[in-house]
Subunit: 495 residues, 2 copies
Amino acid sequence: MMKNYNRLKTVFARISRLQYAQRILMWDEAVMMPEGAQEARAHTVATLNRTIHRMLTNRKVKTLIDKARDEDRLSSWDVVNLNIMEKKYNKAACIPLKLTEESTRVMIRCEQAWRTLRQQNNWQDFIPYLDQTFRFVREIAERESQVTHLSPYDALLDKYAEGFGQSDIDDIFLKLKQFLPALVTQIRGKQQSDTICVARGRFGIEKQKALGLKVMQALQFDFKRGRLDVSHHPFCSGGPSDVRITTRYSEDEFISSLFGICHETGHAIYEQGLPAEWLEQPIGQIDNMVMHESQSLLVEMDVCRSKAFIEYLIPLIQDEFGTQAAFTVENLYKYVTRVKPGLIRVDADEVTYPLHIILRYELEKALMSGDLQLQDLPSAWNERMAQYFDLSTLNNDKDGVMQDVHWASGAFGYFPAYTLGRLMAAQLFDTFRQMHGQFSESVRHGQFQVLTQWLNKNVHSLAASLPVNDLLINVTGAALDPQYFLAHIQRRYLD
Amino acid sequence: MMKNYNRLKTVFARISRLQYAQRILMWDEAVMMPEGAQEARAHTVATLNRTIHRMLTNRKVKTLIDKARDEDRLSSWDVVNLNIMEKKYNKAACIPLKLTEESTRVMIRCEQAWRTLRQQNNWQDFIPYLDQTFRFVREIAERESQVTHLSPYDALLDKYAEGFGQSDIDDIFLKLKQFLPALVTQIRGKQQSDTICVARGRFGIEKQKALGLKVMQALQFDFKRGRLDVSHHPFCSGGPSDVRITTRYSEDEFISSLFGICHETGHAIYEQGLPAEWLEQPIGQIDNMVMHESQSLLVEMDVCRSKAFIEYLIPLIQDEFGTQAAFTVENLYKYVTRVKPGLIRVDADEVTYPLHIILRYELEKALMSGDLQLQDLPSAWNERMAQYFDLSTLNNDKDGVMQDVHWASGAFGYFPAYTLGRLMAAQLFDTFRQMHGQFSESVRHGQFQVLTQWLNKNVHSLAASLPVNDLLINVTGAALDPQYFLAHIQRRYLD
């Protein structure tokens, strides 16, 4: 009855298995791999890319899709699954195999060059690498845009933030730009008189890890299907039955590592909550980074940076590190909600964070439209740093245009997903909060099941069966709207 | 000039990259993977197998091989490389893709069943799994034997011990059977009056690891291209630029873990010493387990269980664990050269070990010839245990026929490689010893370079460019001969 559709499912299951292999190799590279294996590993990842590209663009896939359209008994999930398959096929089929291979190679080299040259604050030598990468990004975007009938920049956005185009984001970010700078000033004024006591001492890594594991457990991380390790930057990789999250530890300071774990646990419980029977199918996988970041940021920002969570945390901290002046609810809460403009995105507080994203978004757009040339990036960056943060990155490209790996690895169009995800998190949490007025009380006692069950029912278990805004409308009654985030900022920082 | 040959090299390089991915996934499964990922991981390994099989058996490969035969400028290594490619193609092409997939699935299931049922000493429930596996092994062997013109059991041996057929092994093992039992009796008599002091205390894992790393360093393990971790059974996996060795620790006893590290380091320095420019080609890879075991056993048995090595080791042990009666050269040397027949192969001393292999070899042969039926394995095992060791495994299949993973995972024909490798190690080391009379003195001082350089020149750097016996004749002047091993036993245990 569904012979062709079932054959397609087999093809896409195979692709998902190879992608799982890739993600474990990526995890291994960041967590375990000896440095001498870099070249061999890069070749292996490229070969897997090539293999996946060939499987996906096999002409039989197109024929099967066309035939499957006419088959009976397709459920509504099957139909969505088939649509995603077709979109994946179309977007891949317009990229010749050679272009996939060359661009992969160039982007791996560019990222490797970035690692070295960023440390050296050497923008000049980085330009040719980034230029090559950007040319491939543009060529791929142009090819995809012919298939998807989107503009080239929208084609990039479609990869990471499907459902949001440049005009949607322009509107949303405009609103943030209208309100955020004033909010930052107000909050800074209010926080000016706060004195914050910084935790002192050596915080042993084993104890930090024990603390992190307790929090993960409370947040319903399933250790039979995942683990926690150490890498240079925290991330979440692997697959739904094998979620690998990482953090990094410093013995001087344990809070940022702990909140890294909270963030990645949000990603992890999303993966672990995806519907078991669809894990190997496109509909069962979350490529949309707006969705994914909404789950990590809801857990990190809305839950873990709340005062109730700090109340839950203090005894756990004291269990590991004893008592000291810094370990009071009032003090630690001030510490984790401190607003302070800075150069580095990943260190930013939740209020200034969107301005970092808006800066990058505006530059990406200008690069893609041709209004900005690559070599002028540092000065354009510096200009906007002055405008949004009153800070300068002049002669400091290391902490300016070179600070993120995204562009170096070819991920143009990625950044907006962070802020869209944050807005989505605030909107989802607003609905949840109104339905569960006693949640703060549960948080104080380390009880998060009511939240994780709600997320599972309303988000995780739906996987990719709905477009982002449809899901949001179903759950919250509205499409993505920055007002929930702005109201949250008002409530947490100014009321 | 070598267009077709170079295209072949590209195909085989891709295959080698996917095999590297498989080996890292295998390492990850044993060292890192959460248990809930078993099924997903098995699917992924099977999909990689399938992908490799398809790449290898693509008809273009056959055409390219035929055309490459006529190309100019092929070096002698190129010609050998091409021959190995052709053999790999022929052996793979006779196995339909479906058979590869089904047999992989069956063997993974059988190995998983073995893990549970072995613990339960449950042979009866294991029979149907092993039967299915054995049927596939036989079918594949029969198909291969039509291509290679070897008997089915020789086709199995060809996979792990290329260069040695049943008639060669019959001769070699006959000689061992003639001499070993009497040697065991003699040695046991001589050792009867020895009193061995066993090390007491808790041996912390961090200290054991530090000790292991020092020994690896001394044995010239390159940590830029490899690492040491923990798994249930020690192994060596990964690839030449990314060698993953493992051991297991018990806080009660550190010697077996340490010698596990020595053994795996022998495998590792072999991999790390393979010629850099051929790593991705068949000629640059060691599939032959006789070769591989010769290197691990030379390091473990000939070097690390020598009295000179124990002299080197004692101060290192004392650095980590202080002094005690057990930590004298005489005592520890007695401990690591104690000969005692036992049920378990992996715990056996080097004198009784070959008898464990001969037992398995005789049963495998009988299974393949049809002289023995699967259900009669336990009684046949028990009979030979009585004959060779004067021990019984009656109602103890856990420590009898079910003790090893090999048959459960479909690796019939593998066992002889251990003993052939041991004989080869003894023969190589005999030549080395005669050329470097002062080596024991170097060992006492932890200086192993003269050995590793010699192995690199005479074995490692040659990779698979020569058949095992040709390599042995070049280096030692003779084909594989058990006399060197028997002389070593006489010298170490009876002189």
